[in-house]
Symmetry: C2
Subunit: 435 residues, 2 copies
């Protein structure tokens, strides 16, 4: 009997071999969606070691035999394009599915036949991953104090770096759900309105194209319109996490964002990593956040306010630098407002969250320049170019650059990884495409 990873202090052993640096041990059990190459249908899946496992095949063969899933039959949970049906079942089902998979693939397990293994397992580099979740609404926050401070210093100087509301509420805005794309999809450099003098506009390709290092949280429970979520209930609403690159066109943003916020500067694409790493898998990496000063209003107060110790790396390749070079090392622990606080604040006026909503953390910057979460900060508004090992310099992203984000947690004898969140920049369309 294999216990859930949250109770284990040493590494679990699996019948699928992998080494201790592999990002997908039995302690992880991420959830995603992929195209099964046998028939090209999209199914929900997990990953163990270097194998992608078709969960619909396991389900079809009656292997989800815990009490909750048994009662669900003949309802089908994993033979879907997205994880939403599974997520909608709630956290007890998430836990049972996780433990069931851990048991099925535990070393010595004989529950799963060779025939089923041959149908359900695929080399991860032989399959095409798909968007794991139908994201109904996407909200992006701005909750790393280091990032908000850095940006504030650049625009308003150190004395007024944080806006008056920043320490009182997790500032956020509604993002564009339709243009969320999966890791690997190429990003066309946007073209739009910019203004050098903030008076007269130009129609120009974006010259300050940036990434934003974020963690996305998937909502796994809906609240009714008009019924706010209490902070004590918030953990039940969080299914899991992904990496998120909130691509940003800084020059377009500077011209458009007053007074209603970023629009064209953000809505051309946001990239997510393919796997959902569950809150349960991250449980051993919980890390208490510092006490907030000033104390937040009661509805945001959380004695047990936490984030997770997830190391976040940002790497870059260029047309000539083909070996990924690390340009930033940050961590999900550098949050001021927690995911739970963001979620509660989102609903305070009554807004209804739905299963599948994505909440972006906001750019996560450490206190050090080596851990800033955007090129805007790394190059300090373009004034301090970053030097790459081959002698190239970067202030913002150039065509041909590939930006890669990675996340991982170091456990006792195992590593939990998020999988890459990457995108390559393609040249802008020429003007004939616009009028």
């Amino acid at each position: 009997m294999v216990e859930s990873s949250s109770n284990s202090s040493t590494a679990l052993k699996s019948l699928i071999p992998y080494d201790e640096n592999n990002h997908f041990p039995l302690e992880n059990i991420p959830f995603g969606a992929f195209q099964n190459p046998h028939h090209n249908h999209v199914h929900c899946c997990t990953r163990i070691g270097d194998k992608v496992v078709d969960l619909a095949i396991l389900e079809q063969n009656g292997l989800f035999d815990g009490p909750l899933f048994t009662q669900l039959r003949p309802k089908v949970v994993f033979e879907h394009h997205h994880l939403n049906s599974f997520m909608d079942l709630g956290k007890d089902y998430w836990h049972e599915a996780r433990v069931t998979i851990q048991n099925l693939f535990a070393e010595g397990s004989t529950k799963i036949s060779e025939e089923i293994l041959s149908k359900a397992l695929f080399d991860h580099d032989q399959v095409q991953m798909k968007t794991p979740v139908f994201i109904r609404d996407y909200t992006d926050f701005y909750s790393s104090k280091n990032h908000a401070y850095n940006v504030g210093v650049m625009f308003r100087g150190p004395d007024n770096a944080l806006q008056p509301n920043w320490l009182h509420l997790p500032v956020g805005y509604h993002g564009r759900a339709s243009s969320i794309v999966l890791s690997g999809q190429e990003i066309v450099r946007p073209r739009g309105q910019t203004s050098a003098d903030q008076k007269n506009p130009n129609f120009s390709e974006c010259k300050r194209l940036d990434f934003e290092l974020e963690v996305g949280a998937y909502v796994g429970k809906s609240n009714q319109l008009g019924k706010p979520v209490k902070i004590s209930e918030a953990p039940d609403y969080v299914f899991g996490f992904c990496l998120l690159n909130d691509w940003s066109a800084r020059d377009i943003q500077a011209w458009e964002y007053v007074p209603l916020g970023p629009f064209n500067a953000k809505n051309f694409a946001s990239t997510i990593s393919p796997w959902v790493i569950t809150a349960e898998a991250l449980e051993p990496f919980k890390i208490k956040l510092p006490v907030q000063e000033p104390a937040p209003l009661n509805y945001l107060k959380d004695e047990n306010n936490y984030s997770y110790d997830v190391e976040l790396d940002v790497l870059l390749t260029t047309n000539t630098l083909t070996e990924p070079y690390t340009i930033s090392k940050s961590n999900f622990k550098h949050m001021y407002w927690s995911t739970n606080q963001q979620l509660v604040h989102h609903t305070v006026t009554g807004c209804n969250l739905n299963v599948g909503d994505l909440l972006g953390s906001g750019t996560i910057s450490s206190t050090e320049k080596s851990g800033y979460g955007s090129l805007l900060e790394i190059s300090w508004g373009g004034k301090e170019p970053l030097s790459l090992p081959n002698g190239e310099q970067r202030t913002f992203l150039q065509d041909g650059d590939t930006l890669i984000m990675r996340g991982s947690c170091k456990g006792n004898g195992f590593t939990i990884g998020f999988g890459d969140c990457s995108g390559k920049i393609l040249p802008a369309l020429d003007e004939s495409n616009f009028y």
Copy 2:
């Protein structure tokens, strides 16, 4: 043979009787969704006079017999909860469906049997309307110059009323799709963070609850991510229009909106009217917009820039004033940026629109105080209370108030109406619901 209404100069005659002031003559043919009381299934529908017509019943009986719909069989278009499948077919199908319905219900038509009529027709006040469209993404613009100017004068004075970007691009932001509700749904007064001194927050019920008079445009065609829509192509992307009340919590908004725009102040609810009035039905009411000065950039230039002559009325009832009282008379023609320009600007950096997206016009105010589109403007920031006929005064909405929006176009012997967009304000939840 009945011609499409856009070619007719006198009123069409229908086998369903209605008078010339009825908002749903054969010239209208709006599209919606309702719960068929015979079996409680939700189907797509239209309305003629005071009758709601179940389009799925007509379809099941082979009455959509034009060349395009005939080729579609056995695909089902109207036996769905939402109009999206129909909308996705494109404008040639929209036109054929409209003309088919007009012909079926033309005076003297014998195409539709008594038996089918008895199954497909319902008194409008006996059925429950449903959300007509699955709204994938909702975007709200800010495109009435009178409104932007009024708000700007209040916050910055007349010399700097319009922000520098306002005359160069249709300012917009991403809204919350999940909390769009149908006319008639009650609105709970939101509670959230406000700050009298813009420094220290309070947790308070909203004391400046407002409406915003808007027209919503439904997108009926998708563009690929990375492929902007040209202004010449934009009309093909617009399926139709509704009334939209973008409820706004002004005190919450004032505290939260810097620097990323409105969030909690808007996401608690937005109300839509139940019918989609097609662009084709509104064709006779097209009205050319004034030449824009300064001229917009090429991608936004439209020699034939238009809106529609739709009279927009805002009415109020209170706990003691039960007869709706008109508090504003505006018109959809008071737009600076057109729906087509909004749509094109939305896609300029490559954002993909999907069938079912909703684009809010922004609050539509006329130049006169009698035609302002929000209480913020009507009461000039709360300083000039509005007097109601029973002696009550209003700066902002009070509990028990019902706000009703109506829209109509006066044709030659007929009227095209939008149906009511209404919502009643319920008291805020008490604090025990929040922590």
